[in-house]
């Protein structure tokens, strides 16, 4: 258990009584008489549970409850309000403020202890006693102590009870591994104890050993009748009892988890609804004597309000009440999923057959005449609670099966998804390999015939020039030019396919460095050109070094090519001052007609004749592919004879433009695209 229990009550009697009860139940506790004392205690120590009186001399207990609920450190602390309950709305107020339980005074000691134990261990892993815990029920102290010592010697843990009623309560509360019960007890006898255990879904698998008097054969029959697993005569040696016990425990073997089902004999709460205060009090007293916690409501409306905040185990409902009345209350309770399962017993006047029929029609589970004595009422209530428990258990089992089935289906689905994913990856890999070997063949095998066309063309020109006229020589030069043009196309196509399928690694880079090195290579390749290159500072970006180099080779290569006719060629690379970081490459060259801008980035699209500027129509398609692999987009602006500017971004900007970039749709019209190859 994680902490002590704090009892806050100004009544000395209540404090002493609760401290005794808790101490007897082995639950360490501390008592305070005022809010001030309680606050000090709470500041110093973490309690597992606070049992809190509502009316205290220095203030309202609910105030303290609110403080506890707003203290993060006390998040695991349960609160049980304990109060003289005059109005149902006090109860509702307490529960909605965050109390875990509300017990009215006068309280049933057994109920308070059992609930205290439940609440105090909530949040801990339930530290249930092991299978070796034995509950011993016997009223003879001498025999009890002797047997207890023997059991403990044999390393069992032992719980003891002096009466059948106490024994049942302990069994429900602590769930021992076995019960040894004396046949003759002051209240209910041993056979009855066993019978009640057998009627409880949570306990019925519990092995029970009945101790019988020496010569009473009839008692043995009754014991077996009640469902005992074994019986031993009390005058036999204690060793025999131990042997029977251990055999019984062995055969008990695998039973369902002991905590799966709430015990029938555990703490139960009953809501009684009646407008007659006298009848209500009488009823409450009678049922409290059986250990039930009673919640009293004076009208159907009150009952519904309470049920909205606190579940109960059974409802006793008067048919004739002012306000919405019993039938309507019953109908409403049965129409709400969370309260539908609560058994309802209608209370009717003895001769009111119509009311009975209407009550059952409204969904009540049972009815009873108000004039019946409380014995009958108690039996009916117990029967209803038991029925509910069986239903709960069945539902639990169904849910368990359903959950298991669901898990199996989910597992199967997950496995299938994984398998199909693996097969897709495999397919993709094999497609990539195919593409790879295709590209390789293209690279190698398409070039060889081109070399022959070009080579033998040249040989003809060199060796057989005297046999060809000028037209013939001219045609041969066309043959050679075509071969060389096709060779460039192949090179560009290969580069494009490498851009699409190659590795992609994003890292911080300085685009300025790339731009300058590409420009240096261009300058070296065209020694006659004088181009002014302006590169902005701070062209930092995140991208793939290799791919961006290829992009700038194409963009700067284009700018270089299209400024070849300029007197003062100027190429500028920079970044726009915007959130998206839009980079640009601007030249003052031939430019292009915006009317054809939509064709710019298409494969093999050219806006200039080969005579003006040569090219394959693949360069800008390659650049666009590189930009898209970065999640960015590219567009262009220009005018004929007034240069061109290419803009691009390198990430989606996490904005609404992302899907546009992803789908490769055209950017807005006013910045329409430029040609692919120019």
């Amino acid at each position: 258990m994680s902490g002590r229990i704090l009892v806050v009550d100004d009544s000395l009697t209540v404090r002493m009584n609760l401290m005794d009860l808790l101490s007897a139940a082995d639950l360490p506790a501390l008592a305070c008489a005022t809010l001030a004392e309680a606050r000090c205690a709470l500041a110093e120590e973490r309690f597992s549970l606070v049992i809190l009186d509502v009316l205290l001399p220095d203030g309202d207990g609910l105030q303290l409850l609110e403080e506890i609920r707003s203290t993060p450190a006390a998040a695991g602390t349960a609160v049980m309000l304990l109060s003289t309950e005059s109005e149902i709305r006090d109860r509702i107020r307490g529960l909605t403020t965050g109390a875990d339980e509300y017990v009215g005074k006068p309280y049933d000691p057994g109920y308070v202890v059992a609930r205290a134990r439940e609440l105090a261990r909530r949040g801990d892993s339930v530290c249930a006693p092991g299978e070796e815990t034995v509950l011993l029920i016997d009223d003879s102290v001498t025999f009890r102590e002797a047997l207890k010592a023997a059991l403990e010697n044999a390393s069992y843990r032992v719980l003891v009870a002096g009466t059948g009623e106490d024994g049942l309560r302990l069994a429900a509360d602590l769930r021992p591994g076995a019960v040894i019960v004396d046949g003759v007890l002051p209240g209910i006898d041993g056979a009855t104890v066993i019978r009640r255990i057998r009627l409880d879904a949570a306990l019925r698998g519990l092995p029970c050993l009945l101790l019988t008097g020496s010569e009473e054969r009839g008692e043995e029959v009754r014991a077996l009748d009640a469902g005992a697993d074994a019986f031993v005569r009390k005058d036999e040696s204690i060793m025999l009892i131990l042997a029977r016990l251990s055999a019984m425990l062995r055969s008990a073997g695998a039973q369902l988890s002991k905590h799966a089902t709430a015990s029938l004999l555990g703490p139960k709460k009953i809501l009684a609804v009646d407008d007659s205060e006298t009848y209500l009090q009488g009823l409450a007293d009678a049922l409290r004597a059986d250990g039930y916690e009673m919640v009293l409501a004076r009208s159907g409306e009150e009952a519904l309000q309470l049920l909205a905040v606190q579940p109960v185990d059974c409802i006793l409902l008067d048919v004739i009440m002012p306000g919405i009345g019993g039938q309507e209350t019953c109908r409403r309770i049965k129409s709400v999923p969370v309260t539908r399962e609560i058994p309802i017993v209608m209370l009717t006047a003895v001769d009111d057959r119509d009311a009975m029929i209407q009550g059952l029609g409204a969904g009540a589970d049972d009815y009873i005449a108000k004039s019946s004595d409380f014995e009958v009422l108690r039996a009916r209530v117990l029967a209803q609670i038991r029925r509910k428990q069986f239903e709960d258990e069945n539902r639990l089992i169904r849910e368990h099966l359903l959950r298991a089935e669901l898990q199996a289906v989910e597992a199967r689905a997950a496995r299938e998804i994984a398998e199909s994913r693996a097969s897709l990856v495999e397919q993709l890999e094999s497609k990539n390999e195919e593409l790879e070997s295709f590209s390789y063949s293209v690279a190698h095998d398409l070039r060889a015939p081109l070399r022959s066309i070009d080579g033998f063309g040249l040989i003809l020109l060199e060796d057989y020039a005297d046999k060809l006229d000028d037209d013939g020589k001219h045609y041969l030069s066309y043959v050679r030019e075509s071969a060389q043009q096709m060779s460039r196309l192949i090179d560009d196509l290969l580069a494009l396919s490498r851009v699409a399928r190659g590795e992609f690694r994003r890292a911080p880079i300085d685009l300025g460095v790339i731009v300058r090195s590409v420009a240096a290579r261009l300058a070296k390749a065209t020694p006659g050109r004088d181009v002014e290159l302006v590169v902005a500072d701070g062209l930092l970006a995140e991208g793939d070094d290799g791919l961006l180099t290829i992009a700038f080779e194409n963009l700067l290569g284009n700018a270089w090519k299209f400024t070849s006719g300029c007197d003062q060629a100027r190429i500028e690379v920079g970044v726009c001052d915007d959130e998206r970081r839009t980079y640009f490459v601007r030249d003052n060259g031939a430019g292009f007609d915006m009317a054809y801008a939509s064709k710019l980035f298409g494969m093999f699209q050219r806006l200039h004749s080969a005579a003006e500027f040569e090219g394959t129509g693949i360069g800008l398609a390659t650049v666009q592919r590189i930009v898209r692999r970065h999640g960015g987009r590219i567009w262009a602006e220009g005018a004929v004879g007034r240069g061109a500017t290419f803009f691009f971004t390198l990430d989606s900007g996490a904005g609404s433009d992302f899907p546009v970039a992803l789908l490769g749709l055209e950017p807005p019209r006013f910045r329409s695209n430029l040609e692919a190859s120019r």
Binding site: Y440, A443, H444, D445, R447, A448, P449, L450, R451, S452, D454, G455, F456, G457, L458, I459, R480, A483, Q484, S487
Partner: protein, 147 residues
Amino acid sequence: MTHESIILLVEDNPKDEALTLRALKKSNIANRVVVAHDGVEAIDYLFTPGADGVRNALPELILLDLKLPKIDGHEVLKRIRGNERTRLLPIVILTTSVEDRDRLEGYRLGANSYVRKPVDFAEFAQAVIQLGLYWLVLNEQPPPVRA
């Protein structure tokens, strides 16, 4: 024994063979050129003794294409480098491929040089001339290995 200077050209494409031979002729390289049309012929020439039991003279330079029938260029290269008698022979890979993996594998297996065959025949002829000049005139051969 007088040393006849031989170039071994390993080339399966007859047109490329013709172009290469013409380029060599035009550059006034007078060496005898032996042509192997696939990897097996190249290996046979280098390692298999003739009917008279005499092995062919080793070439001073091997021009090796990579994509060859039967045994490819990389495998030929591996066998030449794996044999004591031939492991120091200068080998120039002369191929259409400029794929990274081909270049890497060529150098890894011990090629002395890797030259791409340009499509433009004028450039191709220029490359062959430079190769001949460099490897047969400028470059000093390793001393002959006694088998």
